[in-house]
Every structure is written in C-alpha cells, then in structure tokens.
Amino acid sequence: MKRIALVGMPNTGKSTLFNRLTGAQAKVGNWPGITVDLLSAKLLLGDSMVELVDLPGIYDLRGFSEDEHVVTTFLRQQSVDVVLVLLNASQLERQLQLYAQLAQFGIPLLLVLNMADEAAALGITIEREALSGWLGVPVCLVSAKHGQGMEQLRGLVVRALRAPAQAAPPDDAVIEAALKSAVHVPAQASHRLTEKIDRVLLDPWLGLPLFFGVMFLLFEAVFWLGTPVQNALAAGFSALRAAALEPALAAAPPLLTGLLLDGVYNGLSTVASFVPLIILFFLAMAIVEDTGYLSRAAFLIDALMARFGLDGRSFVMILMGFGCNVPALMGTRVMRSRGLRLLTMMVIPFSLCSARLQVFLFFIAALFPPRLAPLVLFSLYVMSIAAAMLTSLVFKRRFVNNDPFVLEIPPYRFPTLRQIVLRGWHEVRHFLRRATRFIVAGVVLVWLLTHFPVAAAPGGVDTWAGHLGSWLSPVLGPLGIDPKLTIALIFGFVAKEIVIGSLAVIYAREGGALVSAIAHDVTWVQAYSFMLFTLIYTPCLSTIATLRSEAKNAAFSVVAVAWPLALAWLVSFAFYQTARHF
C-alpha cells in the first residue's frame, strides 16, 4: 500500500486536514524507532487504498527537538511515496523555508496551502500555477476547516502517486523569486477584528481580570453541565445493576457476585463516569485553544509562571485540574517541550479536584462550626496551589524546558462544530482505551483487600485492608490518621468519590449517624491532617493511569506517585505534630 505523510508547521490546521481527508477514522500506531504515537488512517484515493500518516507539527528540520527528530526519522526510515507539505497560505513568506528543507529528502512533495479563506480575507492573492511552476511541485489551495479545495487535493495526490516527480530543492533565490511573482501581499495585511479584540482582551489592566473571568465561566459551565450528566450516568449504572445484573447473578456464589459487581462492574462504571467530564472539558479546551485564546492566556500569565519553570499554558491546565485532573493531564499535549510537559503533569495532580472537594465538604461539615467552614475550605485551596508551586520549584531543574518560549499568536478563529465534536470524541476514545484495564484492575484489587478474609466484616479492621491499616499505623499514626481512616485512604487511592461511601462501610453507619460517629472518633486536628493527606497524595487511579499513558515513562510515573505521597506525609506530619499541642 502506498503511504502519504502529512508534514507542516504548528498552527497550520494539520489535524483538521487529517480529519477532513480521513473522516476521523484514525488509529494510533507505533513505529520502530519513534517514541511518540502517530495517527494514521487508510483511505480510498482514486481506485486504491493508501495510508495517510500525520507527523508532528514542526518549525524547522535543522534543530534537535523531539518532534523534529520524529519527522526526520520517519521520512528516512519508512517508505513514503508522497509528502503533503501543509503551509499557512497567509504566511508563505516564512513557511516556504520548511518546504525547501523537506525537498532535501528526495521524496515527491505536494504543497498544500491551508486557510486559503483567511488569506483571501487579508487581500493576499496566490497564483497557484505560477508558484507551482517556480517550485516544480503541484500546489493546491484549500480550507481544511470548511472543506474547500479537497477534491482538487485528492486529484493531485492521485496524480502524484501515479507519476511520482521529484523537484530539486529550491535555494533562497528561487524562493524569493517565487514569492515575488506568485504571492501578492498587500502592504497592510492585518486581521482588523483580531486587533480590536486584542485591544480589550490583552489590555494591560483588563487583560488579567478578563482571563480569570473567562476561565471561571468555562469551569463553571463544565461542571454545571457535567455533574448532572455524571449523576445520571451513575444512577443508570446502579439501575442496570439492580434490574439486570443482580438478578442474573443471584444463583452465583456471593464471592463471585461481589467480585464481578463490586469489583469489575464498579470499576467500569468509574471509568464511564469520567466520560461526560472529558467531553465537556475538551469542548471548553476547543473553545479556548481553537479560537486562539490559549496563546493569549499564555501571554497574560507568563510573567508569573516563568519563575516556576512553567509557562502560561501550564497555568490554564492547572486551573482545569481544579475540575478534574484527568482531562487536564491529557490537555498538556499542546506543549511541545517534553520537559515543560512533564513538569506540568507533575504539578496538575495537586489541583483540588471536584472529587476531593466532596470529601472535604463532608469532613468540614462534620468537624468544624459553620462559621469556620469557608475558611477551612479556602485554606485547602491555598495548600493545593502551594503544593503545586513547591513541586515545580523542586523539579524545575530536572525537567528543563528546552523549547524556546516563542509562540505564534494566531488570529481569532471560530472553531466549527465538527472540529469540536471530533476533538471530544478522539479524547474520550483515547482515555477509554488506555485507562480501562488499569482502573478495573485497581478497583478489583481494593475490593479483594477489603473483602478478604471471608469471615471478616467487609471494609472492617479484620480484613486485609484493616491489617494493612494497622501495619501502616507506625507510619500514619504520627499524622493522627487511625487505622479506620487509613482504610478510607486505601479506598481513596482508587477514587475520591468512594471515600465517604467507604467510611460508611467501615463505620457501618450512614448519613447523620456516620457524621456523629466520626465527630466522636476523631479530633479536628486529626481531620484536618487527614484532609491535607487526602489533598496531596495520589488523586485517584484514573489520574495515575493517565499520567502513565501520557508520559510513557515508567520512572516518571513512579516519581509522580511517590513524591506526592512523601510530600503528603511531611505536610500532615508537620501540621499534626504542631497543631495537636494547641
């Protein structure tokens, strides 16, 4: 089968074109010698099937960045019949250099000029035939977003595959001449509307408050829309369980029923409960990123984040992490520097997510007077940010951001519904494929720990989890965390949503009775120490699964779990040993 590679600079609409050509039937594939996942898809062109591979966006082929290495390795080692060189039609003056570098590989090229609609709106005219004549390659003007010029592109690809032709790499003089005679840019080519909007959104005084306002609204929207859907899903799963699964397994031995329903089925429904949040988060991300606001946010907040070895985009992801860490971790893919990305991924799990918030609201209500409740909660948010900043200070020398912080500020654009939906769908599929097995295994393990030996009351102190709790008491005792709370922490390792539920099992009480039992059992100092530990240690199994699959590095994943554990212990220890004397 013939193979086509898609290469282009960042922000040229590469994935949009890829989706447009393939109808989003892509699969993630591994290639020998290449460390990142590449999307590829088979499509019918003319009368034969061809494979289209999407290579990472690159600025240059002379540098040493990971992405550049991937592109060079792929083009050298794999057989590629045609390279589609995707350039932004409005920025040929600078982007044609990438074409010239790609021509050195001796692979037939096809020049695709995207965002032709934007170039036309700027008054830029491109004489396709003349440009093609100068460079000696077929040239095609398209708008991948709106699907214009796709027929012509397909025709040119078919022809290039049938009769491959290599053009000589153009030198600077040829490029100059080609630009001069075939591309006409008016003297004042600027995006007027973008300039007007920027005058407000990047205003020295209004910019930052507007940024926080925008983030707050998006954040509220995600959870305002997502929580009911999540609850409805959870209710649906319980209903299915009660109506179909429990009767079906009625004849099975109770242990098998427990394993299948409380272990495997609960694991699957935990995974599923993330789906609405991931879809909504990426909807919000699509709005922030595809409109061009993400790079403006980076511009506004960069001065502060640079001190912590992070950049403005990291900050947006940390904020998103206050909703749910999992999609925020996936969102770090917009960062091209691996060091920066890993550092951001290290920091995101400290964001006090909505699941941890449930635990805190319960404990605060149980142990603190209503007058102090908001203050206690606020202090936990402060601790969350402090832990994140401390972590980036500690690790910023290990994960050096080797990518220069020189980013394009694209004009404002309206993302199409198609783009947004495809994005959400891709991310959900990615999450489900990578996290399901890991999460189900974790849930089953915790079920086993809390239900064996058979004679013990489930979740009680006589189970393996209970033994583990007593065994850990020399470690957690100095933090004021007793064996019962330790079992809750073991549950919390799977998901913070089940911590309160697990306490109900451990104390064998529900609702108000549970609240008074805990209020009777632990002091406020113990409770706050427990909350600090819950805040800082592992957010949940889904977060670990995502960290592992996004970083693709076992050592990093171990550090990303071990460091928060150590930090949680130190912070809780310092707090408990100080505060219990008052």
Partner: protein, 82 residues
C-alpha cells in the same frame, strides 16, 4: 536622512507601536532557527505591539505573523528603529 542616523538597539527596547528593521540575531542555533522559522530574519521589519504586565512577554508582528517572546529572547534580536 540616511539609515545609519538611527542607532541600533535590541527588540526589547522598542516602545509599543514602534517598528524596527532586524539587523542580526544574536541567538544560538536552536533559538536562532526557531526565530527564523517564525519570520524573524535579518532585513525584515518587526513591530512591537505591546508588552504583558509584570515584565511578561512581548507581542510583536513580523509580516503577517504575530508572535510572543520573552525578554531574554527579545534582547537577542538587534534592530534599527524604522
């Protein structure tokens, strides 16, 4: 007035709304290539649009491309006020 009448300076010293012609990039390979790929090359005209508060990055325009870059990187771009 000859071009030499205005002294050379670096990009970070331009005021908001001021333009300059790029004379040279005093950058290492990685940064130099990146700046060039984004359009900052000798002979091109660059305009400083604005700077973010608290010593944040610069927003500049070169040709039809808008960019942001931090002060240490901007100091490596030598320009002559135009």
């Amino acid at each position: 007035m000859s071009l030499d009448a205005t002294p050379a300076c670096t990009l970070d010293l331009l005021g908001a709304g001021e333009s300059g012609i790029i004379l040279a990039l005093d950058a290492g390979q990685t940064l130099g290539h990146r700046l060039a790929a984004l359009g900052l090359r000798a002979g091109k005209t660059v305009r400083l649009i604005r700077r973010a508060r608290f010593g944040g990055p610069f927003h500049v325009r070169v040709g039809t491309t808008d960019l942001m870059l931090r002060a240490p990187d901007a100091r490596r771009v030598q320009v002559r006020r135009a």
